[in-house]
């Protein structure tokens, strides 16, 4: 039981009469790279939004390491240890690269420093600030972004922006990392590089990763297990190889 990081039980949501997702059962073990795939409009991002607290699920439960996190706020869920990236990159464009990461670091317990302490510049402030800067540099170094740290985030090339988003998510010290279509808009070479990055993140940070992806090469290349959604319903679940050869999955993607 303790090995399971995220578990959803009969998770579902309906917007009015539309059931955007129903009976989604995920079970993600520690250090696993789990893929969530499906055609357009299958409800993948909706599932992400429910897990991260953007939407409150209508049915079902979500457990993070055994704790019920259903219906908590986004901030609280982030504190419990789920971080995410977005389908269309959402960086803090006017902040520098290092500050983007430092926003992610701010909630960690070791950098505690309240509003009054930072306005009056107590020693706590200086200690927290210096420690955060060092930690952020460390993280950026891992992703090869250290030299770009003082640029504004919007000036980075696309591939680096993706990396920065992952670095920022990791800065919040998550147990589970959710990646929403990390390869969207990338050419094959960049995708290849991204696959390496994702694998590297899992090994280096001992991370559990759930990702949504359309690129079957990426999914087949790195995912351990897959769940396939179509029209909000789970149609198949299992090892990557078995799932990709499942006739129903092929049907969902290619039609009859």
């Amino acid at each position: 039981m303790s090995n399971i990081v995220l578990e959803t039980k009969d998770l579902g949501i309906s917007f009015g009469g539309l059931k955007a997702a129903q009976n989604v059962n995920l079970k993600i073990e520690k250090n696993q790279l789990y893929g969530l795939i499906g055609p357009n409009g299958a409800g993948k991002t909706t599932v992400f939004n429910m897990i991260t607290g953007v939407y409150k699920p209508t049915y079902g439960k979500i457990y993070l390491s055994g704790d019920d996190i259903t219906g908590l706020s986004q901030v609280e869920i982030n504190k419990r240890g789920i971080a995410r990236t977005f389908q269309n990159i959402r960086l803090f464009n006017n902040l520098s690269v290092i500050k983007n990461v430092m926003v992610g670091l701010a909630n960690r317990k070791e950098y505690k420093c309240n509003l009054a302490q930072s306005i009056f510049r107590t020693p706590t402030y200086y200690k927290a600030e210096n420690a955060m800067r060092e930690k952020a540099k460390e993280l950026l170094d891992v992703f090869g972004l250290l030299d770009d740290r003082n640029q504004s985030a919007s000036n980075l090339p696309y591939g680096k922006q993706r990396k920065l988003e992952i670095a920022r998510a990791l800065a919040t010290d998550p147990k589970l990392l959710l990646l929403d279509e990390p390869a969207a808009g990338m050419n094959p070479q960049e995708t290849e590089e991204l696959m390496e990055t994702i694998k590297f993140v899992r090994d280096r940070f001992d991370m559990t990763i759930l990702l949504i992806e359309h690129d079957m090469k990426l999914v087949g290349g790195i995912c351990d297990r897959l769940t396939v959604l179509n029209f909000g319903k789970e149609i198949c679940q299992g090892n990557t190889k078995d799932v990709l050869n499942n006739p129903e999955v092929v049907k969902a993607y290619l039609g009859d």
Partner: protein, 400 residues
């Protein structure tokens, strides 16, 4: 915690750039303080200094909401009016004896009271800001400003339409020093806030609220905190404003005044404290000078000139055709040129010694074409000799 440790912590991230505006404000205060001490300032200069001082404080506080939180607030003058009325109520009605015996203490207490009351209203205005965005919040703040104005106009306690008679004021000759000290303190509060993790969280909310939430930024907390801090500082500016007036009329704090403050923030550059400082100083200066030089029928022209200046500045900042001109004459480049000029002066002797080596082995940078010149060179047609025409069909032969 001993001081040695503390200073070593400060030293680690110290950048002169971050403190330059404090030095400028201190220098200006000292300069005019000495001038006024030897009696070199007349009444109108003092009034101008005071007006610049409290306008800058108000503009900087608004810049926290507009520039850093990214919410449009059109009712900032209302916070000032709250500070002005309650502050001077305290100075005049509650403790007139204190105002005459210990004016500074009375002024400080008035600032605390005015700031607190404005802060409470800042909290109330911060609540709709949690749910409203952009234009809708602007409408709410605009309405808030007008409501406060009308309430003050109809309260007998504050003198009604005639305005509040402000009898006990701080000494006009040294008020500007108090104003500049308050300016320093509010600058410190705002810049310390901005350059902390809380400031980064505020800017993260401005840049992308959804992403900020997913990074664990407590958006509601920061929105309200920023509105409250901004309102407190504006309230204090209002108290200082009240001390320059013999009658405080709430009609002074109409939406025109709020928009004036907004213009200072926008012209200074969103999220740029130094820009706001410069813009608010310049605009207040122009405003006062025009108001005193144009009287009678000509007073109408003031608004036209004012509007023209704004239009010109906006065009200058945004017109694509002025881009080259702007790059040549902007402040950063001017500063860099000045720096280079000074450095050259210092290094002249060294250079003259080494110059022979430089020209022999190093490239002469002035002779290398810039990118623009290079483009021009490359884009001109090559004119080859008649003897060789590369794509001539006569000589190719093969394809025909």
């Amino acid at each position: 915690m001993n001081f040695k440790n503390y200073f070593s912590l400060i030293k680690k991230g110290f950048k002169v750039k971050n403190f330059i505006n404090y030095f400028v404000v201190i220098a200006v205060t000292l300069l005019f303080g000495v001038l006024s001490g030897i009696g070199g300032l007349n009444r109108s200069t003092l009034a101008l200094l005071e007006q610049i001082g409290y306008s800058v404080i108000a503009a900087v506080s608004l810049s926290l909401v507009v520039g850093f939180l990214g919410e449009l607030s059109l009712g900032h003058a209302a916070f000032m009016s709250l500070g002005a009325f309650f502050g001077s109520l305290f100075q005049n009605a509650v403790f007139p004896s204190l105002s005459s015996s210990a004016p500074l203490l009375s002024l400080v207490l008035a600032m605390i009271i005015g700031g607190t009351i404005a802060g409470v209203f800042g909290f109330i205005i911060g609540l709709p800001a949690l749910r409203l965005k952009g234009d809708y919040l602007a409408i709410v703040t605009l309405a808030f400003g007008e409501i406060i104005k009308i309430i003050f106009q109809n309260m007998d306690l504050f003198g009604g339409v005639m305005g509040f008679q402000n009898r006990y004021r701080y000494d006009i000759n040294s008020l500007f020093i108090v104003i500049f000290i308050v300016l320093l303190i509010s600058l410190a509060v705002i810049q310390n806030l901005i350059r902390s993790k809380h400031g980064r969280a505020v800017m993260a909310v401005r840049d992308n609220e959804i992403a900020a939430r997913s990074m664990g930024v407590n958006v509601s907390y920061y929105k309200i905190a920023v509105f409250v801090i901004s309102a407190v500082i504006a309230g204090v500016a209002g108290v200082l404003f009240a001390n320059t007036q013999s009658t405080i009329k709430s009609s002074k704090f109409d939406y025109n005044y709020s928009i004036n403050l907004l213009v200072m923030v926008v012209l200074g550059g969103m999220g740029n404290i130094n820009g706001t400082l410069i813009a608010s100083t310049v605009i207040t200066f122009i405003d006062v000078k025009l108001a005193t030089s144009l009287t009678g029928d000509l007073a109408v022209i003031k608004n036209i000139i004012y509007a023209l200046i704004l239009i010109l500045i906006v065009i200058y900042n945004n017109s694509p055709s002025l881009k080259k001109f702007r790059e040549k004459f902007n402040l950063t480049n001017a500063f860099n040129r000045l720096k280079k000029f000074i450095l050259d002066l210092f290094n002249k002797k060294k250079k003259s010694k080494n110059s022979s080596e430089d020209t022999e082995f190093g490239a002469d940078w002035s002779k290398i074409p810039t990118k623009i010149e290079m483009d021009a060179i490359l884009s001109t047609d090559l004119k080859p000799d008649d003897s060789y025409i590369p794509d001539s069909p006569d000589k190719g032969g093969k394809n025909e």
